[in-house]
Symmetry: C2
Subunit: 301 residues, 2 copies
């Protein structure tokens, strides 16, 4: 655990600067080895209305004992400059006074995969500020899970009973990505049936020897024991991942893939944006060549 007090003001400034960083600055902030003291990264994702914010609040309260805790909540509609604590996070009153807790809501105007702008680099900043753990809350909108998967060590998929979430998640291939399934608002009818459905789907999926078997948990904000069980499942998964370095190697490459792809997409978008309307009257081959040359030049390649 960290001993120096958390400098909230400097952290907030650093995150804001990174959120607004240009592609040139991002290319400088190159992917590097994570420091020895790297925060555990826990992703909580699910459809809107699944009760993620409340769940994250309770989970943060439960896990604050484990050290310095950061909560980054991606709000797709939040303006990029905003860094306010989410308005509806009222239940987090208990937490707001803690010196070792930092909560930030992040906008996602430029990216379209449900992640915040420059999120990978912002997660690196959390490492620099000696966080022990970072909880990343994202809204699942189909593509978001693919992007968030590589950014976190443990991915918790939050489902709402009777919502058709299971079918949607299966269709989108998200079920295979989750490390932990949570059927939230478990006092709603259909919660137990949903858990059974997921169990049945998981049972028919063949997995190699030694693979992680994603547990299926029922949670409710009104049942503290269910939050503790979730917290323990996260610990178990982190322990499983740490037991074999190979388990994180592929994840690191996926993170690097995401960064490279995003950096090039931003450069391509910039190169296209500066072209005049009549540029697009040219043959497609010529358009492609011009844009690629612009990207090469921007990177001195």
């Amino acid at each position: 655990m960290s001993t120096a007090p958390l400098d909230r003001w400097t952290l907030s400034r650093a995150l804001t600067r990174m959120a607004n960083a240009s592609t040139a600055e991002l290319a400088q902030a190159a992917p590097r080895e994570r420091p020895a003291h790297a925060a555990r990264r826990i992703g909580i994702t699910g459809a809107p209305g699944a009760g993620k914010s409340t769940l994250v609040g309770h989970l943060a309260l439960e896990r604050l004992s484990k050290g310095r805790l950061g909560v980054l909540a991606v709000d797709p509609s939040s303006p990029k400059s905003g860094g306010a604590i989410l308005g509806d996070r009222v239940r987090m009153d208990d937490l707001a006074g803690s010196a070792e807790l930092y909560i930030r809501s992040l906008g996602s105007r430029r990216t379209c995969d449900g992640l915040a702008d420059n999120l990978p680099e912002m997660l690196d900043i959390m490492d620099e500020f000696d966080f022990d753990e970072v909880v990343l809350e994202t809204v699942g909108i189909g593509q978001a899970e693919y992007a968030v998967r590589a950014q976190v060590d443990t991915l918790v998929l939050v489902l709402l009973p009777e919502s058709g979430d299971t079918v949607q998640a299966m269709k989108a291939g998200i079920m295979e990505m989750a490390d932990i399934f949570v059927v939230n608002k478990s006092d709603l009818p259909g919660a137990q049936r949903m858990a059974t459905d997921i169990q049945r789907i998981a049972a028919v999926t063949s997995q190699p020897e030694g693979a992680w078997r994603a547990p299926i948990l029922l949670t409710s904000a009104s049942q503290p024991a269910s939050i503790r069980a979730l917290s323990q499942a996260i610990d178990s998964h982190q322990a499983w991942r740490s037991a074999d370095p190979q388990r994180s190697q592929h994840l690191r490459a996926q993170r690097a893939r995401y960064r490279l792809k995003r950096l090039l997409e931003m450069r391509v978008a910039e190169a296209i944006a500066v072209q005049a309307d009549d540029f697009f009257d040219a043959p497609l081959q010529q358009q492609l060549a011009t844009v690629l040359t612009a990207v090469r030049t921007a990177h001195d390649l």
Copy 2:
């Protein structure tokens, strides 16, 4: 209007083939001049639950008299191979028998902006099959509106009373994009107040001389007159746009921008996907150079 009967089987096959087209095939299907007989394109977008599907059904019934009508409904969770009529479109029984109506649900697995895969090329196919009008239904998830804006001639933004949709739309800069505002389910409390709110926001937005002033309509599936009013507003906007060729010129360039950007993004993603995990241990400059060279080679540049 078209005289030859609509060949549904050939159309369905052509759309499926395009939905699954590779980047190489897309590069061949280069952006071109739209034929003289190009379908009017009407976009209907809004948050999930705003009642878009039902509204589109009623609107289609109203506009079927104007000629051959296609409805492309983008369902982010639909599997790519699916082409079924949406299950919940039960109210469209009246329409299903019409020889001049074609309805198709499109998946969007690869794109992350809420548009279907290869949508621009699929819209071109609708032109080839002599459609007079194509209604494109998309779910607004923040970024989707930017992408859909350029694809359609008239953009209708559907809002739900008391939903906070106005605030979300303002934040995301979507309000400026809409050609027509619709407060749907107008029998719900708060509908009139929402319309007044939008009116007030629109009033303070300064606009150049001759600019289109987006009307604000209240609609309800149970009030046929409100659907007719929406249909007439669409006609008015199409007439306004046709009155001056310059009004569509910028839109055409935006469409070409979107295609070029997407084609390059797909190529970049392909070039990154084939790299082994240890490729990402190399310096970033080298990674960038390798990927750009792969994209150039793929396009013979």
